[in-house]
Symmetry: C2
Subunit: 288 residues, 2 copies
Amino acid sequence: MPDPSARSMRGKVSRLIGIIIPDLTNPFFSELVQSAEQAAARHGYNIIVMTSFDHAAKEADRIGQLTSRKVDGIILVPSNDFHTLKLPKGLPIVIVDRLLPGYSGIAADHRSGVRLGVEHLVKLGHRRIGFISGPKDSVPANDRLKGYLDAMELACDGEQNAAPLIAEAAFDYESGRSAGNYLLARARHERPTAIFASSDQQAIGCMRAAHDLGIPIPAALSIVGFDGIPLASMTTPRLTTVKQPIQEIAAAAVAVLLSKQDAPGLGKPLLLGCEISEGETTSSPQPD
Amino acid sequence: MPDPSARSMRGKVSRLIGIIIPDLTNPFFSELVQSAEQAAARHGYNIIVMTSFDHAAKEADRIGQLTSRKVDGIILVPSNDFHTLKLPKGLPIVIVDRLLPGYSGIAADHRSGVRLGVEHLVKLGHRRIGFISGPKDSVPANDRLKGYLDAMELACDGEQNAAPLIAEAAFDYESGRSAGNYLLARARHERPTAIFASSDQQAIGCMRAAHDLGIPIPAALSIVGFDGIPLASMTTPRLTTVKQPIQEIAAAAVAVLLSKQDAPGLGKPLLLGCEISEGETTSSPQPD
DNA sequence: TTGTAGGCGTTATCAT
DNA sequence: ATGATAACGCCTACAA
């Protein structure tokens, strides 16, 4: 069998793809890596994983390593702690999930996905719908917020009481919990009858907050999450959530790299649709 | 900067380590991979990840790929669906977590870890302690079972009522849930006052079963899990669990590979200690 | 001490 | 068509 090192020295192909993610412990990213590995394997490619821990300096270092390794392309989920990302030209990089303004990339359509979830709640009869948003400086977080506002504006059409109720938070469990506490700490007739959380982990934290306040789910509060991680189906009750098309994202990223095109549509991101995964945390609102 | 392909052709070192795991979606394995990546990075090594999906044929294929890639070593979590594992000699492989009888390897000390957890329950006053075991053909599952039996025998010393209550199950959430239902479906004075589950996912499934049966945790039932995955601290109430030393396992595996020794202690596995992570699912038993 | 040649395994190209 | 050869970049070993 041929020696890949020799081939890659002679020709210009290493059949190696690098993937840089902020944190492999995050189930969203581990599923992304796994899907990328499968997609790459289908083309005879292997994957080198690296973690940036959301640290821009580490990220730059990893890009350098992969470059000198002569990988054929890099799948990059940029660190949050972003600054100017200097891309080594000549090496195709596809940015995934956390799109950077001005760059092209591939991601779920967060905005329409959230809208889907909120509209699900609206259809059930909810009007006072709270929203736990992500960090202000995160592009996907802002897209999700827009989806919420889109849906609320539509629901508002002709009705007064669909004012937005927003709590800003990080994406993790603890932040979701305190955001939930904040949204729910008011009299019953002012309190939201449903909450949409920008991540499943937030949603689960919010479930905890509701539980601690003695608010039964879904009887007195409906909750919808976002992401569709395996964890969502392990809660009690099972979380209703908006599932991101992780496999499709990974497959598209690999396809772009192997087609040697720098980007899908030249600076225009490719957005893939989400779908609702119904759990047990949503029902019609009880009359006050 | 040097070209790794050239170096690896000239010398015999690729500074690449392969890691083969059954499923990256399993939080235990994703943490293992992340830890391995960090440990390897400290030595200037990079990691190629591959997934076997617990399929022996795929596993063999991945080993072949890594061999021809000239990786300097392989970290292998063997697929469950094991058969004879033919190791390409000359290429150091370290078996991790799921030790194979006859091979050396590195893993948590499951037996003493479980004993630790069960003894925690005994100290709280529990005697009717149920155990959700893993699949019969899994080596770690059997080690965990032994740890339970060890602890129960000790607790039994001079007391009659510490008869083992065992339910066999797979390691996942659903199996833990049905095992929990099985153990709890009896009159209160016969029902266990505490359950030790062989995995956190089982434990969380079991919490769900208890919840569905109207059994409050920890008031009427204490639960302890095993693994220490992040998920354990996101349940309501937070799961008490026995944490595996994942980072240490990964670091040791990398160290073994880089030291070019085939194994720690020649056929004798290296076992690393676990520790208890206290949550909110344990308390002293209520009098019947 | 400093410098240079050879060979690792491929594959592309060129010559027979 | 088939086979020989050079070049990819680095490292080691040997020579000046």
